[in-house]
């Protein structure tokens, strides 16, 4: 392939991932500007039109100044990304020399480094790896063409370069794996960049329920939480309630949490039914709330957190996501209230008279009866569950109750809690998720963003009773997706889960255990059967994390063996970085080797060429030998003319069938 063509192709390939990944992250206006500029630059490049360097540099300075004047601690990362993108697009306009390509690749890496704060899944990691490969290979090819002043790269050369770089990069990744396993570990992240947790206005979890703020909500199938049980299986995973936040204050439009009324005391529980232990992996930051399975009576984590009386858990300090923590819970347990400080749960805002009238009409003989009547009221037609055409306007709740009668769970829960309070029953709205998908193959449960739900708890006879006023239709979303697609997604999630689990699980203790296990394992193998703790440790390191470590070790060993085995070849390819005549000579030998002629160690060049039987081949090979030796055996440096001549010979050699 021609040099310029190849360079353009490599450049465009390398742009794909950084631009693609930032589609949802960077401010849309600037993103489109950068993409537009980039496309224009590529178009102009194809016409061989370039903007002079000083113009580019001046514009670059302007962009950087713009960055310095607009940056705050909160938007640091966003702004940095925007600036990097604009600089990258600008750079594309230049006439590109080797160092310009280097600069472009550097910018791409910086962008990806910034992007890494927004993604925690394995897919990002894989894309990052892909980009590393791509840029690594591109750099190699650029260097190759530049160093050897090559104007044309053949498929064979390209292949050998890919092989070489592939081996090198795979080797370094294997090394990185070894470092990951063996280097000392930190408990907390080293730094947390401000602005990384940008406010994603999406469905699912919100810190406040703003009724009427949106007319339509879109579903997102992003995985929020995964958990696996220490033992056993939940009888009905789709009806599990995952509590994240409790809203206790309603101002007529917004349900929110007023923590001031909740002293940081432990929740009181009446333990009943079967207990479960679970390990949770929280993928996304839910404004520092730690979702738990109803009802959790114990939470363990190796970072500080707070527990509230209403069963809500919140992080004590900033940590990096994904998070891992363990809980003990029992679905049949109930939260109880012994204190009389329940006034906050009876707070009522100004509401329209017809709501008060409705509340009165639903009053029953006892609190329990009232509760039933209210829930039944919502479960009956004409109330319908919908994520579209949500009530809006001055008083959306009023509108929902008397006009549209169509809404999402927030409307149902919000209205129910209000009606309960109007009837003097303490009530609160719980925000979280309902239901989880059990991953058969992975043996874990996963909770997606679209399972986000809100429901109500009413205090009746000193016990918080859960009621879910949302119509049943809201739970059918689970089966809405096509089966095959869902299965595919589950498989993808499995890989992601293990990745997260392995990376998170692998901490200091695991590390120690692994080394201990390896140590005792080896000494057992050697015949010193001194202790059996190794087997115990093995059971601690159960599952994937152990297999993963073992796999990594095996792969590393394999990699090292391969490296040793092919080091000659590798060295050959590294010759590329040496003098051009050496490189050409290697190519010459390779070319002849392909045709079955291998020079023996003791044989000279002329002798070798003389041994060729094919006359055409011999002709060109002899010509090569003549030029080469006339410089080499006279201790004369190979000048440009010589290299060109040699290249011409090689090209002719290559063209021979």
């Amino acid at each position: 392939m021609e040099k310029t063509k190849l360079e353009r192709l490599l450049l465009m390939l390398s742009l794909l991932i950084p631009f693609g990944l930032n589609f949802t992250i960077v401010d849309r206006k600037f993103y489109l500007l950068a993409v537009g500029l980039g496309l224009l630059a590529i178009f102009l490049e194809s016409r061989n039109f370039h903007i002079p360097r000083f113009v580019i540099n001046a514009l670059g300075v302007v962009f950087i100044l713009f960055f310095f004047f607009t940056v705050t601690l909160a938007n640091f990362l966003d702004n940095a990304l925007i600036t990097l993108f604009l600089l990258l697009s600008l750079k594309l306009f230049e006439k590109k020399r080797l160092r310009d390509y280097f600069q472009i690749y550097l910018l791409e890496f910086l962008i990806l480094a910034g992007t890494s704060f927004f993604y925690t899944s394995i897919w990002f990691f894989l894309l990052l790896l892909l980009q590393v490969f791509l840029i690594g290979i591109s750099l190699f090819i650029h260097l190759y063409m530049e160093e050897g002043e090559v104007a044309y790269v053949s498929g064979v050369e390209l292949k050998s370069m890919l092989f070489c770089m592939g081996t090198l990069l795979t080797g370094s990744i294997i090394l990185a794996g070894i470092f990951f396993i063996s280097l000392p570990r930190l408990q907390a992240p080293l730094l947390k960049i401000a602005g990384a947790e940008s406010d994603k206005a999406k469905t699912g979890f919100t810190e406040k329920i703003r009724l009427g703020a949106f007319s339509e909500i879109q579903e997102s199938s992003k995985v929020i939480l995964r958990f696996n049980l220490k033992a056993g299986k939940l009888p009905d995973a789709s009806s599990i309630y995952i509590r994240a936040i409790v809203y206790d204050h309603f101002d007529g439009k917004t349900w929110e949490r007023k923590e001031s009324v909740l002293l940081s005391s432990r929740p009181l529980l009446e333990r009943k039914g079967q207990h479960y232990g679970a390990t949770l992996y929280l993928q996304e930051d839910l404004q520092d709330y730690l979702p738990t399975l109803d009802y959790t009576f114990h939470l363990r984590a190796n970072y500080p957190f707070r527990e509230h009386r209403d069963g809500v858990y919140k992080l004590g300090e900033m940590v990096s996501y994904p998070l891992k923590y363990e809980i003990s819970f029992s679905p049949e347990t109930r939260l109880v209230e012994e204190t009389s400080e329940i006034g906050a749960y009876l707070q009522i805002p100004d509401v329209s008279p017809r709501i008060r009238k409705l509340a009165q009409s639903l009053r029953g003989g006892s609190d329990g009866e009232t509760l039933n009547k209210i829930v039944e009221y919502f479960h009956k037609a004409p109330f319908r569950y919908s994520l579209k055409r949500l009530p809006q306007g001055e008083d959306p709740l009023d509108r929902f109750l008397f006009e549209s009668k169509e809404g999402n769970c927030e409307f149902f829960a919000g209205a129910t809690a209000l009606l309960l309070r109007l009837n003097g029953i303490p009530a609160r709205v719980i925000g979280g998720y309902r239901g989880a998908v059990y991953h058969e193959r992975g043996g874990y449960y996963l909770v997606q963003e679209r399972f986000a739900h809100s429901w109500v708890e009413a205090l009746i006879n000193g016990q918080w009773v859960r009621v879910d006023p949302s119509p049943q239709a809201s739970f059918n979303i689970l089966s809405k997706e096509r089966k095959s697609l869902q299965r595919l997604k589950l498989y993808a999630d499995l890989i992601n889960f293990y990745y997260v689990k392995f990376i998170l699980d692998y901490d200091v203790t695991k590390q120690k255990k692994l080394w201990h296990f390896l140590g005792t394992g080896i000494s057992n193998l050697l015949g010193k059967k001194e202790n059996k703790s190794a087997i115990k440790d093995l059971s601690d390191l159960k599952g994937f994390s152990f297999l993963g470590v073992l796999g990594c070790v095996l792969i590393s060993v394999l990699g090292i063996i391969l490296l040793i085995k092919f080091r000659g070849d590798l060295w050959d390819y590294l010759e590329v970085f040496k003098k051009p005549e050496k490189r050409l000579f290697r190519r010459f030998e390779r070319e002849l080797k392909k045709r079955g002629y291998v020079r023996e160690k003791g044989a000279g060049l002329w002798e070798f060429v003389e041994s060729i039987r094919d006359s055409d081949l011999k002709f060109h090979a002899t010509r090569f030998a003549q030029i080469y030796s006339s410089y080499y055996y006279k201790d004369e440096p190979f000048d440009k003319k010589a290299i060109e001549e040699l290249e011409k010979c090689l090209k002719k050699l290559r063209e021979l069938k």
Binding site: R586, R599, W606, Y632, K634
Partner: protein, 304 residues
């Protein structure tokens, strides 16, 4: 180039002796002397004669016998009655190309009389030193089979021959031609001279200018070292031997129109320069070429 005409003429005239022709020329241009070890009747004399003729050189011949005296070679002073003084009568050595047939049949005394002309290009008789014509090229032959009544050349004498070659039997087709037409020596001797002695001298000085790169020099030194270290070799190559090898390599490069020496030059010519200069352990005597071949195959040629 004239040298190619020389080569072609020689090849045409002496069909089937390409290798011997090339080696002889190399030896001549490298200002050395040639020892041909071969059976009688192979065409040694013809080779020497035609070579001399083609290069426009004078030719002298000495037949080695046990009773040959040094003065038979160098010549002697003869009393001239008329002038009443001794006049030096030049012997056959005073020629450009001198063929010494069956050198090992000469007595050691006579053999050593050849040392001075070979080494210095001069002859001293009765205290007077006479310069030999330039160029001076001595071709000695010896029979490898018959040892009865011979005086094998001492090492010192052998070392003075730049190369030791053998001609070998001609190929069957050429032998058939010889049989059909009979010996064509007379016809062959009618060959025209292509060069003049001055031109030959010019070529000799040209050959000295051929470039030897550091890498090739290292290669040569490696080879010399190998012969000295080899467990089967009692006495390795001398410095004069190394110098000789370098000289003939340059000549070969010149003959092949190169102004630089390549490893192949050294490799090929070492078979004619080294074997008669090294001494093997007794049990391996006679295996010089095989041994050398092994050493060369194992020695990395400088190519990149």
């Amino acid at each position: 180039m004239k040298i190619h005409r020389v080569l072609n003429t020689l090849r045409d005239t002496l069909s089937g002796k390409d290798k011997a022709i090339e080696l002889s020329l190399i030896c001549l241009f490298a200002q050395g002397h040639l020892l041909i070890e071969d059976l009688p009747g192979i065409g040694k004399t013809t080779l020497a004669l035609v070579l001399a003729k083609t290069l426009g050189l004078t030719f002298g011949r000495i037949q080695g016998t046990s009773d040959l005296l040094p003065s038979d070679i160098t010549g002697s002073s003869v009393y001239n009655k008329r002038t009443e003084s001794f006049v030096f009568q030049k012997g056959p050595i005073f020629n450009n190309v001198v063929l010494v047939d069956e050198i090992n049949r000469m007595s050691p005394k006579t053999q050593s009389a050849l040392l001075e002309p070979m080494e210095e290009g001069q002859v001293t008789v009765d205290g007077v030193t006479y310069s030999l014509p330039k160029p001076f090229f001595l071709i000695a032959t010896q029979n490898p089979i018959e040892y009865f009544g011979t005086f094998p050349l001492p090492e010192a004498q052998l070392d003075r021959f730049l190369m030791k070659i053998s001609i070998g039997y001609p190929p069957r087709a050429i032998e058939r031609e010889i049989l059909q037409r009979g010996s064509l020596r007379d016809e062959k001797l009618g060959v025209q001279a292509i060069l003049t002695p001055d031109e030959v001298l010019a070529i000799q000085s040209e050959v000295k200018k051929v470039k030897v790169s550091e890498k090739v020099l290292d290669y040569l030194l490696d080879l010399v070292e190998k012969t000295r270290e080899h467990p089967y070799i009692r006495v390795g190559l001398s410095s004069r031997g190394a110098l000789s090898l370098l000289a003939v390599s340059k000549a070969r490069a010149y003959l092949q129109d190169r102004d630089f020496v390549i490893p192949e030059d050294i490799k090929e010519l070492s078979f004619y320069v080294i074997p008669h200069r090294i001494l093997l352990q007794e049990e391996y005597v006679g295996k010089e070429k095989t041994l050398l071949k092994e050493i060369l195959e194992d020695l990395k040629a400088p190519v990149q």
